[in-house]
């Protein structure tokens, strides 16, 4: 009986002495219990972030940009048309959206393989908006320590006033964002008028409300929690990176053991890290980069700026934390970017998708042409003994101009085409009005009950238009 107990104790001791607990400490991340108040330190990557963020300038001016007298980007949902810089994309061309999404997804994967989560650190709208929100906090409430104090403070007039001002500014940013998003789907002037006169359509109100509240809550309160628990990107980053991926990395060989800074010559055993914790203090997601790569790291480079500042001050070489790959750090030879199979494969996929989109945009058919063969009755015997089939013709004119076209059918001898629209007719721009066409033929042509026929639409002014549609002529087998 005593032996198993002894074994248990041994196991327990082993467990306690192992690194498991120390490691587990690193696994622990902030689950939303406390707000992260990061310092802001100027530096190269801080500037880079500003430059990268400026791309959102185009997001805000997008609804007002004109292109050849039309809106440059306009998603017209009620009319089911998407206007992109003079090109009108119809739902029928939506396959291009799939290709576009593939391209964007693979681009993300490719960028991740080369340089990690560049998107998160520099371009992700969520982190960009968080950056602005915390900037508001900085000017309103002061340094991180002051902000933390204010958080802990009980509710008084000062706190209420400060919070109220902050929330109003946050909500204004949210409102402007929501308005801009909605404006991509509606006429901007009409939308603004609708909001001001309180008669905007319900969908516009819904969009404004959801986006405003969404920005306010997600950006103002959830912040890095969104990256941790909502965004799938961090969850799958480990399958996208390898040992050649560059990442903000703490050079542990150089840094350890961490030793407090003292004036005078450096102790030969001491590492370069002076445990100032500045890298941790500036991290917008509350990550200690010295624990290695982790899911919270959005690779924004703020810790690099912080560390470089400190190293500069204490006259030690910069780059204790730097963008570096694991292979490079361990002294291995790093292959050139375009010699890595991942990069080659990703690039191929991106180029294929891109050429698909370019092809698609250049080959948007001017007409969408469909024919339905009426099934009730399948055919009719006419008074002269001929057989008549009825077809419903649907031609959608996707161009912005009215088109004069002719419709004909071929493929069977002695085919008589009777169209409700006549032989030549005008297709109104952007419209589709179904009409009927009757095909009449002598009964004796039916050697089989199904004969293939081909309908053909030709542009009478625009000779490039020549579209065929295959259908069936059905009659009694003779």
């Amino acid at each position: 009986m005593s032996k198993p107990v002894e074994e248990d104790q041994n196991f327990e001791e082993e467990l306690l002495n192992s690194d498991l607990y120390t490691e587990e400490g690193h696994w622990h991340v902030n689950a939303g219990g406390n707000t992260i108040h990061a310092s802001r330190i100027p530096g190269f990557f801080r500037n880079l972030r500003w430059y990268a963020q400026s791309i959102y300038f185009f997001f805000f001016i997008g609804p007002y940009l004109q292109w050849n007298g039309q809106r440059s980007i306009y998603f017209d949902i009620p009319h089911r048309q998407f206007h992109l810089f003079g090109i009108t994309v119809w739902p029928q061309d939506i396959w291009m959206l799939a290709v576009l999404l593939i391209m964007l997804a693979i681009s993300l994967v490719a960028v991740t393989a080369i340089a990690g989560r560049v998107f998160c650190g520099y371009f992700c709208f969520h982190m960009v908006w968080v950056d602005w929100f915390t900037l508001v906090e900085k000017y309103l409430e002061g340094t991180p320590s002051k902000r933390r104090k204010l958080d802990a403070e009980s509710w008084g007039l000062r706190k209420i006033t400060l919070r109220l001002i902050k929330y109003v500014i946050w909500l204004s940013i949210g409102l402007f964002t929501a308005f801009t998003i909605t404006a991509y789907f509606m006429d901007t002037k009409e939308l603004l008028n609708g909001y001001l006169h309180l008669n905007a359509p319900p969908a516009a109100w819904g969009s404004l409300l959801i986006n405003t509240i969404g920005v306010f809550v997600f950006t103002g309160f959830m912040r890095e929690q969104v990256c941790f628990w909502l965004c799938p990107y961090a969850r799958i980053q480990s399958v996208m990176i390898d040992r050649d991926t560059v990442w903000p990395t703490y050079d542990a060989k150089r840094g350890e053991p961490r030793t407090k800074y003292a004036r005078g010559p450096k102790d030969s055993k001491a590492g370069d890290c002076i445990n100032c914790n500045l890298c941790f203090n500036v991290c917008p997601t509350g990550v200690d980069i010295r624990n290695g790569m982790q899911e919270g790291c959005i690779t924004c480079g703020m810790c690099i700026d912080a560390c470089d500042t400190v190293m500069g001050k204490i006259k030690r070489p910069k780059g204790l934390i730097r963008y570096v790959s694991r292979n490079e750090l361990s002294g291995k030879i790093v292959p050139g970017i375009y010699k890595r199979p991942r990069v080659i494969i990703y690039t191929t996929i991106i180029l294929l998708a891109l050429s698909g989109i370019v092809y698609g945009l250049n080959h948007i058919a001017p007409l969408e042409f469909t024919i339905l063969h009426d099934r009730m009755p399948v055919y009719t015997e006419m008074s002269d003994g001929s057989i008549q089939n009825k077809y419903t013709i649907k031609i959608l004119n996707k161009t912005p101009k009215d088109l004069l076209v002719s419709l004909n059918a071929e493929g069977v001898d002695g085919l008589k085409v009777i169209s409700e629209q006549g032989e030549a007719f005008v297709l109104p721009a952007g419209k589709m009005i179904p009409f009927h066409v009757f095909l009449r033929v002598n009964q004796d042509v039916f050697k089989t009950s199904n004969l293939p026929v081909k309908f053909r639409v030709k542009g009478l002014e625009n000779k490039e238009i020549d579209i065929s549609y295959k259908s069936m002529l059905i009659g009694p087998k003779s």
Partner: protein
Amino acid sequence: MDNNMKPDDKEKYGSDTGHEWDGIRELKNPPPRWWMISLHASWIFVVVYLFLYPSIPLLHGSTKGLLGWTMIKEYKEALTENDKIKAPFLSKISGMSAREILADAGMRNFAEQSTKTTFGDSCSACHGGGGQGKKGVYPNLTDDEWIYGGDIDTIIETITYGRQPAMPAHKDILDDASVNKLADFVIALSQGSATPEGWNLFKRSNCVACHGNDARGGNFNKNGSGAANLTDKIWRFGGNRDEVLQTIRFGVNQDFPESRKAVMPAWGERLSADQIKMLAVKVYSLGGGQK
């Protein structure tokens, strides 16, 4: 026991419940905050829903809910909304003649589409869902054989006032040999091989009074008498010899059980003029409309 735990465990795992058995501490591990928020949001939603909507089943019906929402109300509202969308088109239809509708592709399509249910309710019982009729019993509307005329005005007239043709029974008027010869003659006529003797018999037997000298239907008025065109390939009551004999012998709408029954009801009392106009446009477009 406490000494088995690291000092920072308390901080890491949070406080305990105060329960301890044989050194095993029961920790307080509250679910994540977002989880608790969704839990509370869910039950609040349920309570609000209970008050606002019909929800608790009682013996007779259920609680009504404060909003007074019912499914049938929602359906009726949707119907009103649909009517509102159709209203401008329908008023346009009122102001247009059937010929004008036929000339306007958009209105023609609207008329055809929106009269589908009327056609299904009123017409398809006899004429079939697609207007194909039933051979020998109900006329096919998709072909180009029109006993009363296939122009749009006559179609409107036919739907509004109905039709009730008559053909006398010839079994007591003509001898059986003549009836048989007449049957052979009209079948030959339809195949384009009529003989002069046949024509003579046809004229002698007074068939021309209704079917006309050329056997192409009647000439009482501009739309014909309701007597069929005997020269084409379409047979109103069936084209084989027995069927033709039966029609000649017992007539149409006569007092014999074998007599052909052919009555088109008048829809003018049941349908509005606009409904009939749209129906006529659909019938005209089925395949045989004539100018």
